[in-house]
Amino acid sequence: MSGNNAVRSMVRSPFVVVVGVILTWFIAAFLVWPNVNILIATFFPDGSFSGRAAEKLFSSQRAMKALGNSFLLAVALSVTVNLVGVFIVLVTHYFRIRGSRILFLGYASTFIYGGIVLAAGYKFIYGDKGIVTSLLVRVVPGMDPGWFSGFFAVLAVMTFATTTNHMLFVANALNGIDYQTIEAARNLGASTWTILRRIVLPMLKPTLFAVTILSFLTGLGALSAPQVLGGRDFQTITPMILTFTNSPTSRDLAALLAVILGLATMVMLAVMSRLEKGGTYFSVSKVSSELQKQDIANPVANVAVHAVAYLLFAVYTLPVVLIVLYSFADGAAIQTGQLSFSNLTLDNYIRVLTQQSGLRPFIVSVVYSALAAVIAVGGLLFVARLLQKYKNWVASTFEYLLHIPWILPSALLALGLIVSYDHSNPLVGGAVLTGTTVILLIAFVTVKIPFTLRMLKASFAAVNSSLEEAAAIMGAKTLYVFRRILLPLVLPAAAAITALNFNSLLDDYDTAIFLAHPLVQPLGLVIKANTDGAEGTEGIANTFVYTVLLMVITGVTMYLVYGRSGRRKGRKRLPAAPAGPQVSGAGLPGAQAPGEDDATRPAAAVR
């Protein structure tokens, strides 16, 4: 169908029109207008454009080097994260590996922590005074104790830290593959490796591309790992962006740098979309069957894979263990890396938990994050499906516009919202938004849009549209089709996205600092107040305590989202007989409320 035709058929659906109108308003009010405002304010400080920022930046050796490093890291990370990520996904979901459940838990540790503490965790192990380094130095006498620094160290740490998306989304997409295609390939003589390379991975393309973009973005925005481990030679651009954002006179530099990174991300996005275009990523089989774990036939390969899997397990879990341990130590011990079991106390926890603000910030953050995560996912579910279904210029335009929050750092996004809505503005019905509790919610939702959209779109790619058609022809309205047919299929992905959004917003500082209602302050602000204080002794200890507390919250979230559905799935593999339809006449047990079951049924089981 020609582009125009598709557009015409698109606007014919009332559902699309409604979603389109809401979306247009949202984009205009919260993505375009505030950011255009702030960009104009920075680039056209007195009404006329100045090329000052570009001039300054491009003549700065340091900026160029840092920018180069950021790009290098982004590109390298796109590769390494995929390698490691795909490997751990295969090990936990595709191959029959002993103890894959335990391995999963180990690899999943990145779900629940990150940032500076994670980098610190690695430093405890591989840093110049780290456990592993001390061991190595003893074994290899001439070794440089500072070996774990620079590009290599940053890349390694960030690689292991950012496989979360793989664990969640690639694994999920993997479960959507029709097992019979794998059987068919095997039947045609394909080896395990060929099947992986030619059947399985191509089907995962949309998801792999989406997570690649995320890895790229993570690399570009790397902050703490280079700061902690990069050393003199490998510093990245983000610290500079943050400094400049905070200085009104240099904000144009920050904006320019951010825009450069943002555009790079968009280019990446465009390339990936192009690569993905035209492919079929849903099963064309009539009814597909559930994936079964594969044996690795070659004994050598099998042993090797097991070995690497458990090695990675150690790499993933050690830092977490140490972080938890260190959270009981005093700040000096943490910073000097000297840990003795005698000085582990609960003092840190008591200090953090008994302060006056108490639990309130936790609750505020949980509520804000949960609301934002749910709204972002809920709203974008429709949008993502429409964008995935209608491939024309209007859809592409919307899609790219929705990625605006990836272009600007969150502090600028927040400033944009303030300058746009600190006075009555017709875009939001004449309301003043600053000083209200909604503005932070809006910001939270906004910053999560690009990630949510990418991941949702990728998971929708695995849904064959004839299911929708079948439902529609039975009279189901768009929303109903959505709820009953599409949602169950993308639910694992949607739940994972919600959980990740939730987790990442819990300790947000950059947005909250500008937008939080003074009486409803989220955790990020409290953490910052407790942990900054010129990096004092208590500060760093508090950081660890907060990290562990956040680990607990996010761990619980992930358990609620994943642990439970995993259990369900296990049970469903059992014979279907207990559903006991023998009680005929009384109706199937599922007849009354199959809707409840939908929510937890893993869509991946059959697709």
């Binding site: 009953r484 279907a576 005929s584 199937l588």
Partner: protein, 354 residues
């Protein structure tokens, strides 16, 4: 009831249906028949509203529904690829439409169980996940899911292709019963001519997105309008000009020897037909015989033409390959088509061919 006018469907730059006009009458059992890939599914999907035609109009009950979304069209459909909902059990799949209509759960359950029984799905199977069914069982779920709603218009895309003969016959009967009981207008796609001829009120024969002929089964079979239809429907042997000339000579009929001439397998015989007044016998040799249970299929050669014919296996003895025999033919049964256009030659105008 249903009118497709001037429909054109394209996929990218591939034109699946260049120009289609169809008229399905209310309550009719209408069949689309045609070779694989000719556009049957495409036509059905256009009717259902899943494909927006590049041109033309779809009318239902006189109303233009070309732009109406499919959930508003009140048609039921069985998909060629089933399109079963993987996240639901068999019961839920069948009950889906009822739940959409907000039927009472008890009613739904009754209706689901009733239709399931009709398509021979057991209670145990109703509780299963669709992936746990056999291919034929899945197909039956797809059929049941459409039937349970008793739509005014029912579109069936090869709904019985994976079923065994017994079950197919049984379900055909169910379909016919429902259709006449509720006056459901049915558009049926099948690859099975037998089915098409046995079940349909009218049949449209498709070729490359174009309708070659629309008519009752008997019209289609006995008076195939084009050479394509003649070849596609039923089984016939191509005759050589030589053979036709010989028939002309023996019977005095004025058949064109330039036209493409065919003879239906069942119109030729090795015995003189009981009442075969005009039948002429031509000497022939048996080329082969294959056993088909119900009958044996012979190929006999006469005047360069390989003529296929059936001989019933009624226990009598039959000539074997290589023996000489006589093949009986009535000139009136010979079908003739214009070699260029493929259009049928009116039997009385046969001589008019230049």
């Amino acid at each position: 009831m249903i009118r497709l006018e001037n429909i054109e469907v394209t996929f990218g730059d591939f034109t699946a249906i260049p120009h289609l006009d169809l008229h399905v009458r209310p309550g009719e059992f209408f069949t689309l028949l045609g070779p694989s890939g000719c556009g049957k599914t495409t036509a059905l999907r256009t009717l259902a509203g899943f494909i927006q035609p590049a041109g033309g109009t779809v009318r239902v009950d006189g109303k233009d529904v070309t732009r109406l979304p499919s959930d508003k069209r009140q048609v039921g459909m069985v998909f060629q690829n089933y399109a079963l909902f993987p996240s639901m059990s068999v019961w839920e799949n069948i009950a889906f439409g009822l739940r959409v209509r907000k039927e009472k759960p008890a009613d739904s359950d009754r209706l689901v169980r009733d239709i399931a029984r009709r398509v021979e799905l057991s209670d145990e199977q109703l509780a299963k996940n669709v992936a746990e069914l056999s291919g034929g069982q899945q197909q039956r779920v797809a059929v049941a899911r459409a039937l349970v709603l008793r739509p005014k218009i029912l579109l069936l895309d090869e709904p019985l292709s994976n079923l065994d003969a017994k079950l197919r016959h049984q379900l055909r009967q169910q379909l016919k019963d429902l259709q006449s009981e509720f006056g459901i207008t049915t558009v049926y796609v099948t690859h099975d001519q037998d089915e098409a001829l046995a079940m349909s009120d009218r049949v449209a024969v498709f070729n490359k997105g174009v309708v070659e002929q629309v008519g009752t089964p008997q019209e289609i079979y006995d008076h195939a309008a084009t050479e394509f239809v003649c070849n596609f429907i039923g089984d016939s042997s191509a005759l050589t000009p030589d053979f036709v000339a010989e028939v002309n000579r023996l019977s005095g009929a004025g058949l064109s020897t330039d036209a493409r001439s065919y003879l239906r397998v069942e119109k030729a015989s090795l015995d003189r037909p009981a009442d075969g007044g005009a039948a002429v016998g031509l000497p022939a040799t048996v080329v082969s015989r294959t056993y088909h249970g119900l009958h044996s299929r012979y190929v006999v050669r006469s005047h360069g033409a390989d003529i296929r014919l059936l001989v019933r296996e009624d226990g009598a003895a039959h000539p074997e390959a290589g023996t000489a025999t006589t093949v009986y033919v009535q000139p009136g049964h010979i079908l003739q088509y214009h070699p260029g256009s493929g259009a049928a030659l009116a039997q009385d105008r046969a001589v008019a061919l230049p």
